[in-house]
Structure formats: C-alpha cells, structure tokens
Symmetry: C2
Subunit: 326 residues, 2 copies
C-alpha cells in the first residue's frame, strides 16, 4: 500500500492548493484567497465580524468528529453569531493547524465541510481566505463576517419589560448528542444518531437572525452555552429579568425525552443547560408579530432578581460551559 500523502510531505503551498480548490466561490468576494488579503463586498458602510476557536481535546475529539464534521461545525458556530446580530453571513476566513503527519485527505474533508456548511446554512457566503500551519494539537480558528443590509444590529442590551422572549431552533438536542457520545453506549448512539448529528454538525436557523432584525427584535444572541446561561446574558446586559414559562418548554423537553430515557439522563436539564444547539434567543416588543421560526417561551420582567432568569417565577441557578474551566 502506498504511503498516504500528508500535509508535511506536500508542504504548505501544495496542501493549501488542494484544500482551497474544494471551496465554493460565494457572492460577496471581490478578491478571493491567494493575495495578501481578500476584499469583500458589503451592503452598506458597516460590517459585522466575530471569531471563534475550536481546539482538539477541548472543544472536539477526533474519535467523535470527522474532519468534515469539524469544517461544517466551524461554519455553523460562526455564522450563528453573525445571524444573532441580525446580519446575513457573507464571508469567512479560516485558520487551521494540524500535525504535519495529518493525511491530506483529512484537510480535503475539512474543506468539504466548510463548503457544505456555507452552502447549506448560509447560501452566498464562502471562505475567502485562510491560513495553514503545523502544530501538535488540531486548532481551528474562524472569523465570520456579515452584512446588515441597512438594518441596525440587534444587541443583547435592548430587551424591555413586557417584551416577548422567543427562541428559533432546537434546545437540548446537541447536549443529548454529547451525552450519547460520552455514554459509550453504542446502541443508543446509533438509535439516536440524529441527536448526535446536531452535536457534530449543528444546523442553526441562520435566516431567522435577519428575519428577527426586520421584525424589530429588541435583543438577540445565539444559545451556545445553554438557555439559562445565555438568557442571563441578555438579562444582565438589558438590566431585566427573563421570565421563562415551563409549559412553553414542554415541546423542547418532549423532543429529547427518548434519548434521555435510553441513557438515564434528565431531558429538562439538557433543554435548560445544554449548549451548542446555536439556536437564536430573542426578545420582541409586546404585541409585535413574532416571526414564524421563533417560538415564544417567556416574557421580559423587571430586574428584581440578581440571577436574571426565572422559570415559572423561581430563580434558576446558572450552569453552563466556560471555555477555560469546561
């Protein structure tokens, strides 16, 4: 059997060429990769920018995620932050470093994941530049950009008392997927592989972001660290209480009850504290038409509790992911 070609055997230039050739073109790139920098078109005189890092052993495990998965997830988590500002994703730059012994096929699969992530989640957006280097651990760092199309960005700080709290996308499904993988129960993993898929290749509702902005959302963020933890961020930034209604979460809980039973986990816990679904949590002025993709789950109340979030009036202690502490 021939020795597989590796990133190290090919060198930076050839490895990059093989990877870049698999990316899509996008609709906003004026100058693409290959020069000192790319040039990207915007729709007005502002652009949205966000960055996120994924590190082997910390944010992902190579025995759970394929390189295709990593590419797809890198796009998903970043365009989700763009959408959470009310913007439409336009262009991304991606830095990846891998051990020199990594087969080039893995890097090609990563590029496929990047391309598919863009095409499926944020059509028109594309990777316009990047960087490839060698390291011991796999590191992936993505910066995503978006266009506001003349709308004002939707911040975390604009929620007003009386607003409707609503969520677009799923809650607890990515946590279910992670718990299934962690359980080591291979029967459960195959039985509930669509939950595992949400963990490995999340599909945030990107179009809901600009839709919320057009509908006059007063605040918004993407639920990356868990509903309660992220709702508390809106509460603190807006100086309000996010008062959630337990019965409005029933549908989300029902969706994850089967896998929870299979591995003796708590479905409500996943819905309240599970991260990485990258759903959009937003507030809308009382009486405004909430866009169809959003489901109301509570109201904005006076800031009368330091915790910031209540469930049927009870304070919910914050729990969730810290990227240093885990």
């Amino acid at each position: 059997m021939a020795t597989p070609e590796t990133v190290g055997s090919l060198g930076e230039i050839e490895a990059l060429k093989r990877t870049v050739s698999r990316l899509n073109q996008g609709e906003h790139s004026i100058v693409g990769s290959g020069d000192d920098a790319a040039v990207v078109a915007t729709t007005d005189d502002r652009f949205v920018v966000t960055t996120d890092t994924m590190i082997e052993g910390h944010d992902f495990r190579l025995d759970w995620s394929s390189f295709y998965d990593l590419g797809f997830k890198a796009i998903a988590t970043n365009v989700s932050d763009v959408a959470a500002m009310g913007a439409t994703p336009t262009a991304l730059v991606v830095a990846i470093s891998v051990p020199a012994t990594t087969p080039i096929a893995n890097l090609e699969a990563f590029a496929d994941g990047l391309r598919e992530g863009c095409q499926q989640l944020a059509p028109g957006a594309a990777v316009v530049g990047g960087d490839l280097a060698a390291s011991d651990q796999v590191f992936i760092s993505v910066t995503a950009h978006g266009a506001l199309n003349g709308l004002e960005p939707v911040l975390r700080s604009g929620a007003k008392v009386g607003d409707t709290v609503a969520v677009a996308g799923t809650l607890g499904r990515a946590a279910a997927g992670l718990a299934l993988l962690s359980s080591g129960n291979t029967d459960a993993v195959s039985a509930y592989d669509d939950f595992v898929a949400v963990q490995l290749r999340p599909r945030p509702p990107i179009s809901a972001g600009p839709e919320a902005a057009s509908s006059g959302a007063t605040s918004m963020l993407d639920v990356s660290d868990g509903l309660i933890k992220d709702a508390a961020r809106i509460a603190r930034a807006s100086n309000v209480t996010i008062a959630l209604h337990r019965k409005d979460l029933d549908g989300f809980v029902a969706m994850v009850e089967e896998p929870a039973r299979a591995i003796s986990a708590n479905a409500l816990d996943w819905v309240l504290f599970g991260g990485e679904d990258h759903s959009l949590l937003a507030t809308f002025t009382q009486g405004a038409v909430v866009p169809k993709q959003f489901k109301p789950i509570g109201v904005v109340a006076e800031a009368n509790t330091p915790a910031g979030v209540t469930l049927d009036g009870e304070i919910v202690p914050e729990r969730g992911w810290d990227s240093i502490l885990g």
Copy 2:
C-alpha cells in the same frame, strides 16, 4: 508569597474582562467586544480581510518572546498584510489560547502589546473582538481588516514590464535578530538588540501601503517569507521577471553587516532570503513618482525565466520559509 492568579483560576469571563479592559477603543468600531459580534465602519462598500496564525514552538519561543512581544507582533504581521493591499487597517479580532496555568499577568501583557501595536503602527485601528480558550501550546490567531477609501486594491498580479520595483521598510534585519537569538551568543544579542527587536516586535511601514496605492502602484505584497521568495510570487502572479539590481541592495546589506560579522553569518543571505521584516515590495509604472518611503531595487522584465527573479541578470534560487516545513 501569594499564588499568582492564573487564567484557569479566574475562568474565561474574568480573564477576558482583565484583558479587554487594557485595549484601546479605535475609531472604526460601532459595536465593540462583548456581544455575539462586533460592528465595524468602512469607508465604502468593501473591506479588506486577512488572517494569520502564530503557534508556540513553531512561530515563536516563549524563552525569546514575552507575551507583550507576541501581542505587538500579532498586530504588526497582520496590519502589514492589510497595508499590502493598499488599505488602511481599521479593526482586528484576536483569538488566543493558552495553558490554564498561564498567569493572568501574561495575558494582560499580551493585551498591552496588542494595544501598543495598534497605536504605534496603525493609529485608529483597534482590537474589536476575540476569543480566549485553553490549550497545551500557546496559539494566536488574528484577523485584520482594512478600508480602501475608494481606492482599488493593489494585487500581486498587476506588475507590467518596465515598472520600477521598490521596497519600503527594512530587509534582513528580522533574520539578523533570529540568527542572533539562535546563536546563543548573549554578548552579540545585547550588542545588537535593535536587530533582535525587529524580530520580536517588527515595525512594518504601514502608511506606505495606502501611499503606494494612491501613487498608482501596479502590484504589492508584504515581504514575510524573504525578498526572493516573495518577489517570485509577484513574478508568477503577474507573469513577469523581477530583475533586481545588486548595487541597490548595498544599503540593506550594509545595515546588517556588523551583526553578521559578530556571529559569522552572511549579510547578503539575510537580505535576500530572510523573512519577517514585513516590508512592502511594490511595482510602480515607469516614470511615475515613487513615494518617498520606497527605495527602487530593480525593474520588471519579460517573463523569460521560470524562476521569476534575477539578481544582476542571474537566476536566484528560491529559498525561504514554509509554514509547514519550516
């Protein structure tokens, strides 16, 4: 003695707060760090974007570079790529991951380096967002943005036969610094510490980029991997030969002859093949006024050699840095 506070003992939120508070504000940030994404102003309906990664043990050594140095260099290398498009740097996002045992003082010093890098090299530009995580190696990934102010971007592909080849900034000084550090000759390192400083905290001539664009530069890039290697990139992209004149490099060689003698190295080698000065190499239409910061070093000739670069008519073999192969 009290245990020093570490990134791990503080957690992500507090460690970020300590770091972000040391950054400057910048003139182009509409929404700064702390939301899902930042919002940056541009001067027209396009923006320039570039990304670069620095990895411990591969791109830097912590026994040579302080965290302040790393912050400064991260800014320098990235705004240099923005300037090489003819753009003015406006905003950057920075992802850093460090071992959880890293003292918070190191992260604060890194932020100081970021701030000083912006203020000294690209006034008005600032870090508008970022990401902090834990890893085994130190990993720094920066994405820089720039505004074209209505000018066309200067690509690598526009050099025309008869153009003047010129360089702004230093050549071989960063290589001298690296060689001094590698020599282990501590006397030489202190005697020539200004060369070491160019390696650790490069000062690319950022304003020369937009200046070249206004003066109608036909091609440009930043010399990050060595004069010959980077000149060959213009040659290939423009399908021309870059014909360098040895006597026009005399001044650059003279500038590094003393440290070369001190450690028995070859000064011309540093000038031709040394990377990381991040000077700007550009071509200007024959007879056009070359901006003062640029020094002519050759002309653009017909593409009659596959190598792409000649020195006094002789083909120069390409050598230089490959980010995978070293």
